[in-house]
């Protein structure tokens, strides 16, 4: 699989047109339906190669895109989400500086 290729498991004859938000590998139990004690083994079964991780992020990105950004009539929600997300991100990376502005010594 080179740059720009489809995932290995994707077969146009079986799956039809390519959906970038869909996982074409063997389906596992969805993360939201796991019991707490199954989470470890679930992560054990995941592929952790850089390309697999990148693929997971890419699918998440496209899921978000399909849900909020790509619909026909888009509201402000995706923009506010981006705004809040970037606020949290920049707060986190600047936390080392911001913490010096604390007003109380003891909590």
């Amino acid at each position: 699989m080179a740059f720009g290729d489809y995932p290995k498991e994707y077969n146009p004859a079986v799956h039809g047109p390519y959906d970038p938000a869909r996982y074409y590998g063997k389906p596992d139990t969805p993360f939201s339906q796991l019991k707490l004690n199954e989470i470890g083994s679930w992560f054990g079964r995941r592929s952790k190669t850089p390309s697999a991780v990148a693929g997971a992020f890419s699918r998440a990105w496209w899921r978000w895109q399909h849900k909020y950004v790509q619909p026909k009539k888009v509201g402000m929600a995706p923009f506010y989400q981006l705004l809040v997300g970037s606020m949290v991100f920049f707060y986190a990376i600047n936390y080392g500086r911001i913490k010096h502005h604390k007003n109380y010594k003891y909590h």
């Binding site: 080179a2 047109p17 950004v69 619909p71 026909k72």
Partner: protein
Amino acid sequence: MSKLMFSQSSLVIIKLLWSKLSKFLTMIFRPFIQPRFNKQFLFVPNFILAHTSTCPASKPKCGASAGKGGTTSIKKIDFKRAEKSAPCRFGFIPEEWFQFFHSKTGVTGPYIFGLVFVNYLVSKEIYVLEHEYYSGLSYVVILYFISKKMAPGIGASLDKEVDAEIAEWEKGRADQMKVFETTIKDAKDAQWRAEGQKILIEAKKENVAMQLEAVYRERAMRLYQMVKGRLDYHVKKRRTENKLHQKWMIAWILENVHKSITADFQKQALNQAIKDLALAASRVK
């Protein structure tokens, strides 16, 4: 030589980087760029993608090699573009987050959780209320009033533009379909005309055959007439010769007869004639 190779390889690297960058930019800005400009300006060079073993469903190669049991029916698209963005509360928190709480805590649970969580962050000064917090508050107020007062109008006008855009694309599609249908109809017409051409050629062939037949008959007639003319000539010639021979024969015979008649024989004949006349007269009386 090495310099040339270096420049080529650097060109390849630049192309590769540009393709990755343009893909990334396309991904980020896809919702903001009109799709028809995407491919012109943010293109990915073909050689990056050319060797892929899988390929889009429209290519027959994949369907032929990967179809199960010879059935190569390509699946229709089973995902559809949503009409509207998924619902959110407070402008950005997905509805699912609240639904997740409902079965466990009831309707107020997520709000209580949010309040408590924010309270925790603030009271422990994990979220520090520095100067940016207060400017943030004013931004939130401004954004709130904009989204309450002006957003419906802006949204309506933007939706109208979206509708116009989609109508334009649909119109393009319909026009293209119409063009293809016209092409098919023209091709059918052309086939029909070609059939007619066949009949026409048949008719022309028949016509030529008829002309050939006519010429053949005319020439046969001419041949007949020529031969008849020649034969007639021979007949006439023969007849004329015969006539001449006859004439000459008569003349020769008469001449000889005249030559053979002497004066004595004339006299004798005359006397015989007078005798015959007298005999005839006596018989009548």
